[in-house]
Amino acid sequence: MVTLTIDGNEVQVAEGTNLVEAAARVGIEIPTYCYHPGLSVVGQCRICFVEVEGMPRLVTACSTPVRDGMVVLTGSERVREARAAVMEFLLENHPLDCPVCDQAGECFLQDYSVQHGLDTTHMVDERRTYPGLERRLIGPHVIQNQNRCIHCTRCIRFTREIAETYDLAMKSRGNHSYIDTFDGGPLESPFSACVADVCPVGALTVKEFRFRARVWHLDETESICPGCSIGCNIVIGHLKGTVHRFVPRHNPEINGWWMCDYGRFLSESLNARDIDTPRYNGEELSWRQAVDTLKEMVAGAGATRVVASANMSNEGLLLVRKVLLEHAGLEVVVPVDEGEARKIKNGRKEWVHGVDAHPNSTGARLLGLKVVDGAELESFVMTSSGPVIVLDSKAHPWLATEAAAQAVANQQVAICARITTPLVRKAALVLPAASWIEMEGTYTSSTGRAQLARRGLYPRSSARPVWEILTLLAAALDAEPAPAVNPRAVFEALVEEIPAFAGMTYRRLATEPGIPVLEEVPNVG
């Protein structure tokens, strides 16, 4: 450990820490553009100048490691003048188009201009422009406006160091250099939209989110990505009940600062819904009637089979185990689809590999539920003689096929769903399920970390999360546990019952980068 003084505050940090991070430790924000904690240090934007006692020149905080006894000034006259000068250089050629720029509101050029810039400019000459590069789609998801670029090269370093796709490059030289794909072709990296995240200005923006909402109007909800077993941490941006975007949230152990395009653009799927009310053979029901109907199917004479889902939270799965498996004695399977291979870099630049397409297959295994693959699911459904309860219409891609509907042609089916599929059309009892952002829950990633996804919206229409449906069913069946008022209560029961979750609290889940539930960390590196 090294002890140094920053603006009079003594701070102890690990050796090798740079001054930006050391200052952040005592709550001092040093402005940065080219510096990003997840990327290599290039020290080229020059905004992070600080004064170090004993050094004749100002030094860039990003490229200066701490030394014992160092005395750093981040707000001296010299520093402020230098920062103002660098801000002026950066703004010299930057268009004043904030009113029509999608980055406005989360633009570091705006923020630091207010904090560190001059209130005017000495520049009267014509600004540099890049004709043809002002509104250019450089890939399926990213739009480039080179006029706004401040040449920090974060995007280039992202494609080299994190995505390892080497897509972007700086072309030409000097004041006229510009960002382009290396070969001039489209930016087709599976992580392409992250370049817009790392872009500190509006030079690279995401096509899907452009002009949908001003970012300062957005409500933000901390969640995790529902796209695969990795469980990348995200922030969901939503406004007036509509989900507008996913952006990655820092978690050094799982997704670093990044997420893949596949997961990111699942955001739009959260807005889809065509099932609003519980129905039995097409007739609208109240929830009370719906739960009673479900109870009949569970407690009826036939051998009822249950298809649970690896998309459900630990709490939902615990209730599946307690109510349906242990109390009602039904046969329960959790289908798991391998899906496409997904991966992401964690905060130490190690690849983290996904194992399947579900956010909680690891949790299902930990809870001792029977995990099956597609073929087993098919035969499980086809060989059933009694009613079939499907707790998630998207538990496996096969369930969305016409074949699934035909497989249960002669059975009574109950299904929780948001979107109509052939199986939903066939089902006798249809229960509207809450979407990802409409429910709270914990999920266990394939790296063995329990994580919390928060609720951002109340369920639209009369949809309910599956855990809630199950507590209502438990009450109807007089089963343990007593109806829970919120998933937190279910989580507390989970902590008591499952040894791997011992000692966990919501508070810890909210502040720690996921809590390990396995002895070893699988699927990393």
């Binding site: 020059r46 010299e92 400019t121 000495h122 009267v124 000097g174």
Partner: protein, 441 residues
């Protein structure tokens, strides 16, 4: 003074190894191989040889920075990326006597323990690269390169690497990046190349002329070398004189000779009987000096004292007909074109300064422009940038404004009004006060 670096000038086939051997070549290398490498470094240190590339850093000291106890390979790189406007001395050495450079590289490699040396030569020196390849082939033939050189057990290979035409690759870390096959952009320092250089290994980068001095130091001794020139500024120096003199060219003179002597005695004075107006003493990035400073001696220290730098020894002479605004514009055009674009102050500042000076020259200057230029010069130099290219374009701005500011003021006074379209897109708070715009403009 007897020619040392250019001693083969005028000899028939001066570039061939036979001529070089006839003039006593490769004797020093043999002598060095018999010495302890540390003794070679000490000899160069004692001779007081200072780097001829521009910075004037003591060469022996630079060699001494290479860690002795490393298990990594070490590299010697010869910087032949001679791109500074007004500088053409390294080209002359390669033209006249490439073997002298090779011998310097061999001795330096032996001194720092390098077994692979690179000559990074600018792309435009196509012919010179051929000369070097030819000379290297001859040296391999005669056993001065390769395995177990002269039965000493020392191995050395020299590779010529051609640049692709970028001024910035003359900066040592950009040069290293370029050899590594990357975009030629300077690296952050520290770490310095002596510790982490080419391919991440300890590396010494020396200028052509610096290395060409080394065989003579070893051959005739540090004392002999130190006796040439002035204290702390020892040895012969090539001066490249261009501009309005009767006989421009490369002149070999001891350090400390006055600029007056170079211009009047050696170059035949100002052309067509005109008067000297100003001179740039060390290549275009050195601040310009007015005619009355012509009496100072050409040493690193004296020129620095006068507010400029000896740099590469590229002496650019201007007579009374020269328009200083135009000259500065011309220089800035070069630097704006050659800025690598990596760090903000240089990328934005070089082009901005060019815009301002061009506007003044075109008759649209404003009195505030001079302050703007000063501001750019202050904040794009002195460590605000990663590499010295910031200083390289700010030096001229400061020099021209200090000594010839009245010409800029006169150009501004004769100005026509600025076309209104050049105003900022959106008005800012103090715009009117700042830009002095009239209400009706």
């Amino acid at each position: 003074m007897e020619p040392i670096l250019l001693r083969a000038r005028g000899e028939e086939s001066s570039r061939s190894i036979s001529t070089y051997l006839k003039l006593g070549g490769y004797k020093a290398f043999g002598k060095a191989l018999a010495m302890d490498p540390a003794a070679v470094v000490a000899e160069v240190k004692e001779a007081g040889l200072r780097g001829r590339g521009g910075a004037g850093f003591p060469t022996g000291v630079k060699w001494g920075f290479v860690p002795a106890d490393t298990d990594k390979p070490k590299y010697l790189v010869c910087n032949a990326d001679e791109s500074e406007p007004g500088t053409f001395k390294d080209r002359e050495i390669i033209h006249v006597d490439p073997h002298m450079l090779l011998e310097g590289i061999m001795i330096a490699s032996y001194a720092i323990g390098s077994h692979a040396a690179y000559i990074y030569i600018r792309g435009e020196f196509w012919l010179e690269a051929q000369y070097l390849e030819q000379a290297i082939a001859e040296a391999y033939d005669k056993g001065y390169l390769g395995r177990n050189i002269l039965d000493s057990g020392f191995d050395l290979d020299i590779t010529v690497h051609r640049g692709a035409g970028a001024y910035i690759c003359g900066e040592e870390t950009a040069l290293i990046e370029s050899i590594e096959g990357k975009r030629g952009q300077p690296r952050l320092k520290p770490p310095f190349p002596a510790v982490v250089g080419l391919f991440g290994c300890p590396t010494v980068v020396n200028n052509v002329e610096t290395l060409a001095c080394v065989p003579h130091i070893i051959d005739r001794g540090a004392e002999w070398f130190a006796a040439i020139g002035k204290p702390r500024n020892t040895g012969p120096k090539l001066f490249c004189v261009s501009g309005h003199v009767a006989r421009p060219g490369v002149y070999e003179l001891p350090l400390g000779v006055t600029f007056e002597e170079i211009i009047n005695t050696h170059c035949g004075g100002i052309r067509d009987g005109k008067k000297l107006k100003a001179f740039i003493p060390g290549g275009s990035s050195a601040p310009v000096l007015p005619a009355d400073k012509v009496g100072i001696g050409a040493t690193f220290d004296e020129v620095a004292e006068a507010g400029s730098m000896l740099g590469s020894g590229g002496l650019i002479v201007m007579d009374e007909t020269v328009d200083m605004v135009w000259t500065l514009e011309n220089l800035l055009k070069f630097y704006a074109h050659e800025s690598c674009g990596q760090c903000t102050p240089c990328r934005e500042g070089s082009d901005w300064a060019l815009d301002v000076v061009r506007r003044i020259r075109q008759g649209h200057g404003r009195t505030e422009d001079l302050e703007t230029l000063r501001r750019i010069a202050r904040y794009a130099s002195q460590g605000m940038t990663i590499c010295p290219l910031g200083d390289a374009f700010c030096g001229p701005i400061t020099g021209f404004l200090d000594h010839f500011g009245h010409e800029f003021e006169a150009a501004i006074a004769a100005a026509r009004p600025l076309p209104p379209k050049k105003r900022p897109i959106l008005p800012v708070r103090s715009e009117r006060a700042m830009f002095g715009l009239e209400e009706n403009s």
